[in-house]
Symmetry: C2
Subunit: 365 residues, 2 copies
């Protein structure tokens, strides 16, 4: 197969440990099926700040832009709590999203049958859960200007953030949601706060128009984001695809992730628009979990979310659908065998570390 | 006892039905213990729009400002989905909050023992849950300017909302949270997105300073709002008091409400600053549930959230702590007796309507 350039950014905390398992997997795939992956590696987050005073260097940004896909671990930790806002670990991730124009963040929340019992929700509420949150990732309050703290004197400061959405941004993200819904249960729920926010009014209007103009075959519902959060907790199976803005997507996807019983399991894909000529999308794949500094370096982190993110990479960046299916099946099979990292351990199961979990999945692949 | 002026705004949907039960209760208290309540009534929401083209009239606003406390039902419904943004039903509620300067929204999420089984969460996760969300209510993205939709030409529009917080606003809301924590388990968790929002950076800074200067005896934690939402779903009992901004408070309090098994049970209080001379706070009490137009007029709505809101009114506006305790005990007793409205019905329980539920609570009081 053709050479495929992967740029790896393991980051901080448990990021490198989880990424190490994906590296083993990549080598195994190159050997076994000649998949032709070529990898390069860079720094992002706190480790990048330590190395060169920025959350990602321009050189690494350039490599990320040139790669066929970026695999991202996690960033942040108490060590960098006091670094200046502009170079905090998260700034690296936000720059990647913005400069690569990764406007579409896909966050599946799938409840693996073997884990249904470990959710804080009742088993019947989450068993078989399979929803997809499509979050807008390059707009809204994350990037709008002005974004600043003003000193008003008299001991008073003013903190300002700006939520901005343009028609084209809402159009393209809802287009992604409708397209994906067609490959699933054909149902999209759009969430905003149009009763309070003007950007919510526009969001609702543009999603409705996009639906009418191009996707009338898909079932579309609108829900206020607060009610949507409640409904996610009450009966999540009512949803198929949820499309929402950057900040609501941040909140709602974390809640959806928690429903499944373990955030250590969940992958995400962040995609750009298809290139006009090559049709290829820029893409970054990352686990939903964070850097978990409390368990970093102990060899107990769950590598599944990172491995499942690589499965999304196979599917969306390289069209290797059969391989992606096989990898996801390998994860489910290992869970069925009773193997568990500490975060998903329950009575009667076999506790394994990061490396053993990775090895077991690769062995099934 | 001295005359106490209550201004009632039943609103739309199930609002009037729920309010009717509180009116009976008020009459009963006046008769039985001479509590001296005098009530007046006005219009808010869709019904106010129908009557005079605004979501609340200036005359009713004046009455709300003058009353000792306002009792609010619910607003909105499909009938008013297409009315102009400025006069939509919610605008009445937002004007009340803003003009009365009700900056502190108290939302207890309590899981009644009799209802623990009806939550979508596992019984052990929610049984005995008692958390209090303190939400900032007059600032943030709800009221910041600019808030507009701009026509950019070429079929493009831009929707803009502005999140603004000043030091004094964060100081006073966190003061309320710390004070209340001292009457509870002495633990406050502050939630924001300081990793993405400048207003979050300021929020974190001011809460930390307020704590250090005046409330160092209270345990204080900080959590990112997305992680906070996850933790609410994972293990809500780790929290005592949560303090957060207007928009995160909207999302998080709805999620917390859903954990308890029924949003039809939960009250809220919205309080202003104490008057410099009289020490009295302006106040509005309202159920967390909405207008539920689908079940309005059927006599099946759960009046408990509205009655429990009146219990908060007794407690916070009139210092009638014994009466508030007694009313809350009456609600619990009726549930223990097996009485249930449709929304909280489970096997073996006795289904009752709105009026019967109200009567049963009054009889126990
Ligand atoms: C790390 C942080 C900046 C990020 C976000 O808020 O988007 C994270 O919470 C996420 O959801 O990917
Ligand atoms: C009705 C609406 C404007 C309101 C809000 O968003 O604050 C409601 O959701 C609430 O939580 O009281």
């Amino acid at each position: 197969m053709a050479t495929k350039h992967l740029f790896l950014l393991p980051g901080d905390g448990i990021g490198p440990e989880a990424m190490a398992e994906v590296k083993k997997l990549i080598s195994a795939m190159n050997e076994k099926i000649g998949s032709g992956f070529v990898t390069d590696e860079g720094l992002v987050g706190g480790c990048a700040y330590d190395a060169h005073g920025a959350a990602i260097s321009d050189a690494d940004m350039a490599k990320a832009m040139a790669a066929d896909a970026v695999l991202f671990g996690a960033v942040g930790g108490p060590k960098w709590d006091a670094v200046p806002y502009e170079v905090r670990p998260e700034a690296g991730l936000l720059r990647l999203r913005k400069d690569m124009e990764l406007f579409a963040n896909l966050r599946p929340a799938i409840c693996y049958p073997a884990l249904a019992a470990s959710s804080s929700l009742k088993q019947e509420v989450v068993e078989g859960l399979d929803i997809l949150i499509v979050r807008e990732l390059t707009g809204g309050v994350y990037f709008g200007e002005p974004k600043q703290i003003i000193d008003l004197g008299n001991g008073q400061k003013r903190g300002i953030d700006t939520q901005v959405y343009d028609t084209f941004e809402i159009e393209r993200i809802s287009g992604v949601a409708f397209e994906l819904a067609r490959t699933r249960k054909n149902h999209v729920t759009s969430m905003e706060k149009r009763n309070v926010m003007k950007s919510g009014v526009l969001w609702n209007e543009v999603v409705t128009q996009t639906h009418k103009a191009r996707y009338a075959d898909v079932k579309l519902d609108h829900m206020l984001a607060d009610a949507g959060g409640m409904q996610l907790v009450r009966w999540p199976k009512q949803f198929d695809v949820i499309v929402t803005d950057n900040l609501f997507g941040d909140m709602l996807s974390d809640i959806a992730a928690m429903l499944t019983g373990s955030i250590g399991m969940l992958p995400s894909a962040s995609l750009g628009a298809p290139d006009v000529k090559t049709k290829k999308r820029k893409a970054l794949y990352e686990p939903v979990h964070g850097s978990a500094p409390d368990i970093a370096g102990k060899g107990i982190a769950n590598p599944i979310a990172m491995i499942a993110s690589f499965a999304m990479c196979l599917r969306y960046s390289f069209g290797m659908v059969a391989e992606a299916d096989k990898l996801e099946a390998a994860i489910a099979a290992v869970l069925d065998d009773g193997l568990r990292t500490k975060d998903i351990l329950s009575a009667g199961m076999t506790e394994v570390g990061t490396v053993e979990m990775g090895d077991a999945i690769i062995a099934k692949f």
